[in-house]
């Protein structure tokens, strides 16, 4: 992950905030410690004051004992008084140690002076017991001194009490105040932390929300969306990354769209398959021209679309197949195409294939048109040839024949009777007439070989029958000829073509087949005329025909051409020693 240099990162902000809270916390703790210290100090002073008070009370008590012993007893002895005094002095020493207050010390020193005056007086003036009359004076004196001392002590007690009261008062006031302060500060801190934290989270939330809205908008299709954030923090980095990501997606998506658009717009049929030739995707040309949608074709084998199964052999590295085929649409329309199949390779392994089929209907149409023109020309040529033959045949048959007949008549009229009695001339005239007869027969034969006039006058059936009768009666092959449902004649041009085919086929059978039997059948169906010619001869291999016997090749070629000229179908089956079979269908209107 990258390191970002951010001015205002969330982590630094968080750190700063927490740091401030810790500092304030420390301050609060310190304050409470200080307060605690002050309060302890104050309570120590109170304790000291109590000790003072206690000591002063002790002192007052010892003084009271002394006072009672002197003033209340009948005869206080000197030793008793000294004992009491010593007791007082001990207490004074204790007080002196404890009392700290200067003013009280002064008062105590006054008290000490009084007591010292009393003890001096006692040691100097008193010998035995005070209850002597002579000591009455001292008794009063001592009373007043004690009384004075008592006053001092009371003053100290009063002052100490006053001080204690002051301390207690201060202590309780300080205690409440410090509590309030600490609570107040803590509350303030909690409150401030809460406000700050809330603001902090809200700010992050706002930014996350912007990111979220941006993402949602993108999902909804607003592909131009860009996210803007105010702060230079991690979320800003996230936003920038998001923007960059969208840009990348957009560029890649756009290029994908772009290629998809090209893929879809291509006029040729494009089919993408997996490696088993199951269809993965198709372009618009396939959808539009074959009326299939992707759902119908998805995962189906590509052969579903073709008339014949693709016979795929790997040729080059990528181009694996290239040939003409026929596509079959959903509603059984046929589209002739030239297809090429290329392998899709990933790391040198074939993962699928791209099959491109180019519509060649137009090309075929043109070829068909050309073929039709050629066919028409061929028909016209054949027709012209037949016409010319017919003309010559008629000319010979009718013209030449008639002239020969006329010569015959002339001889008959002019010479026959005249030389009736001359044996030599009669013989000559007879020979001449025989020669003329022969010439007439010969002219008829020539005419018949050119074109059977019978075909024109009586139709194919008669003409073929006649052909077999006159030309092949004694050829050694039994030729059967039969027609079925062919009472009504068909187009004269078709009849001529079929006649020529039969003539050609018979000529081949006689010359090459060595057959014993041959069948010629003409069967008329509703919309076509079917001619079948077969023999039981030696047969031949149709594929080697052109090399084997050129003449027969030309014969077959002209047969086929005549059939194709009428959009017919020509089938030839033959094999060595299997005979030969020719099946011809010609459509009739």
């Amino acid at each position: 992950m990258k390191k970002y240099n951010l001015k205002n990162s969330i982590s630094s902000r968080l750190f700063k905030g927490v740091f401030v809270i810790i500092i304030v916390n420390i301050l609060i703790v310190t304050a409470s410690l200080v307060i605690n210290y002050i309060l302890k100090n104050r309570s120590d002073k109170i304790v000291i004051e109590y000790h003072e008070l206690d000591a002063v009370h002790e002192l007052k008590h010892s003084l009271n004992l002394f006072k009672i012993s002197i003033l209340e007893s009948e005869s206080p002895t000197k030793s008793e008084m000294v004992t009491y005094l010593n007791n007082i002095n001990n207490n004074i020493t204790a007080c002196n140690l404890i009392i700290t207050n200067n003013h009280n010390k002064n008062i105590l020193s006054d008290f000490i002076i009084d007591i010292n005056k009393l003890s001096e007086n006692i040691s100097n003036n008193i010998i035995d017991t005070l209850n002597n009359e002579k000591y009455l004076y001292y008794k009063d004196l001592y009373n007043s001194i004690i009384h004075n001392a008592e006053v001092h002590l009371d003053t100290i007690i009063e002052e100490t009490k006053e001080e204690i009261n002051q301390h207690v008062d201060f202590f309780s006031k300080s205690y409440i105040r410090s509590n309030i302060t600490v609570i107040l500060l803590a509350t303030l801190l909690i409150f401030a932390s809460y406000i700050w934290g809330l603001g902090f989270i809200r700010k992050i939330f706002t930014e996350i929300k912007i990111l979220l809205i941006g993402t949602e908008k993108y999902i909804e299709g607003e592909h131009t969306i860009r996210i803007e954030t105010k702060y230079d923090d991690e979320l800003n980095v996230l936003a920038k990354s998001f923007n960059k990501m969208i840009e990348t997606i957009n560029t890649t998506t756009i290029s994908r769209d772009y290629f998809d658009n090209i893929f879809q717009s291509i006029f040729d049929f494009i089919i993408v398959t997996d490696k088993n030739f199951n269809i993965l995707s198709i372009n618009a040309a396939v959808k539009n021209n074959l009326s299939y949608n992707l759902e119908e074709l998805s995962e189906k084998n590509i052969n579903l679309l073709f008339e014949k199964e693709l016979n795929i052999t790997i040729k080059a590295q990528n181009i694996v197949y290239n040939s003409e085929q026929t596509l079959i649409s959903k509603n059984k329309n046929k589209i002739p195409v030239i297809i090429s199949i290329s392998a899709i390779k990933t790391n040198d392994t074939t993962t699928g294939y791209v099959v491109i089929a180019h519509d060649i209907s137009e090309k075929l149409d043109n070829e068909n048109k050309l073929n039709n023109i050629r066919r028409e020309n061929l028909i016209a040529l054949n027709e012209a040839q037949e016409e010319e033959r017919l003309r010559i045949a008629k000319e010979i048959h009718d013209g030449l024949g008639q002239i020969l007949t006329a010569i015959h008549y002339t001889i008959e009229n002019k010479f026959k009777e005249k030389y009736q009695n001359d044996i030599e001339y009669k013989e000559n005239i007879y020979n001449l007439q025989t020669q003329i007869d022969n010439a007439i027969v010969e002219s008829k034969n020539i005419a018949h070989d050119l074109i059977p006039i019978l075909l024109k006058d009586f139709g194919l059936s008669v003409a073929v029958k006649n052909l077999i009768e006159y030309n092949y009666k004694n050829c050694g092959i039994k030729i059967n000829f039969a027609t079925f449902y062919y009472e009504k004649r068909v187009d004269e041009k078709i009849e001529k073509a079929l006649y020529r085919i039969i003539q050609e086929a018979l000529s081949n059978i006689i010359k090459h087949s060595k057959a014993q039997n041959a069948n010629i059948q003409i069967i008329k169906l509703d919309d076509l005329i079917s001619l079948t010619i077969d023999d039981d001869g030696i047969g031949f291999n149709p594929e080697t025909i052109s090399n084997e016997t050129k003449y027969r090749g030309i014969g077959l070629f002209s047969m086929k051409e005549r059939v194709y000229a009428f959009n017919g179908v020509f089938q030839l089956n033959s094999d060595k020693n299997k005979g030969t079979e020719i099946l011809i269908d010609i459509p009739i209107k």
């Binding site: 008629k394 048959h397 009718d398 024949g401 008639q402 002239i403 020969l404 007949t405 006329a406 015959h408 008549y409 002339t410 008959e412 009229n413 002019k414 026959k416 007439q433 003329i436 007869d437 007439i440 008829k444 019978l454 006058d457 009586f458 008669v462 006649n466 009768e469 059967n480 039969a482 079925f484 449902y485 069948n519 059948q521 069967i523 169906l525 079917s530 079948t532 077969d534 039981d536 179908v569 089938q571 089956n573 094999d575 079979e581 099946l583 269908d585």
Partner: protein
């Protein structure tokens, strides 16, 4: 004696001239007119009402056979002699069917012509020897053909067709038949269609029935 009126119908002058010359010595015949094509022949027959019409077959506009047919539609008394170079039986038979009384080849000699005219004018038929032979041959070959037909199955089936019928009876598909006979599927389909048409059957059941009834195959 009343002369016999003859109308000559032939598009060749040399022929009509020759006939006229041949008949010139025979005074019982008179040539009343000549026609050069079929139409003219019909009008002249109507106009001139000849006793005998000598007519050629190959004529412009309407051929001789059709002319005879048309005349015979109305007139059965006129005698018609076909004088033509056609020696094919079809022409002869067609001409006789149309109603000609005689048929003579043009290269017949004068005596034959006179004999023919005499015969038909007396109400007889006349054909020369040659024509008689042709008619006889035609009759014989036709009866030959008929014999052959009635002898075997009524409809001639080729060896190949019988092979296919046998396989159809065995309930083989077209493809199986093609494989069996080593021919293409299309050839089988063509044969099958032709067989059905030849036998005039519409269903395989009818085809099988035909095959069994005619002993082409057995189950």
């Amino acid at each position: 004696m009343q002369k016999i009126k003859i109308l000559l119908a032939d598009d060749h002058f040399i022929i009509t001239d020759g006939i006229i010359a041949m008949l010139s010595q025979h005074k019982e015949y008179v040539i009343v007119g000549e026609a050069r094509d079929g139409e003219e022949t019909l009008t002249k027959v109507k106009e001139l009402a000849p006793d005998i019409l000598i007519v050629d077959i190959s004529m412009p506009k309407i051929n001789g056979i059709d002319v005879v047919k048309k005349i015979r539609e109305k007139d059965s008394t006129i005698k018609i002699l076909a004088l033509t170079q056609h020696d094919k039986s079809e022409y002869i038979m067609q001409m006789l069917k149309a109603g000609a009384d005689g048929y003579l080849l043009k290269n017949s000699n004068k005596d034959e012509l006179i004999t023919a005219l005499k015969a038909i004018s007396e109400g007889n038929k006349y054909f020369g020897k040659k024509i008689s032979d042709i008619i006889l041959n035609n009759y014989v070959s036709q009866s030959d053909f008929k014999d052959e037909k009635s002898d075997k199955t009524e409809i001639l089936l080729t060896k190949r067709e019988i092979e296919i019928i046998k396989l159809i009876v065995k309930d083989k598909s077209n493809q199986e038949i093609a494989d069996n006979l080593n021919i293409s599927l299309r050839t089988v389909e063509t044969h099958r269609r032709n067989i059905m048409q030849k036998l005039n059957v519409k269903t395989v059941v009818a085809l099988v029935r035909y095959a069994l009834n005619n002993n082409i195959t057995s189950l």
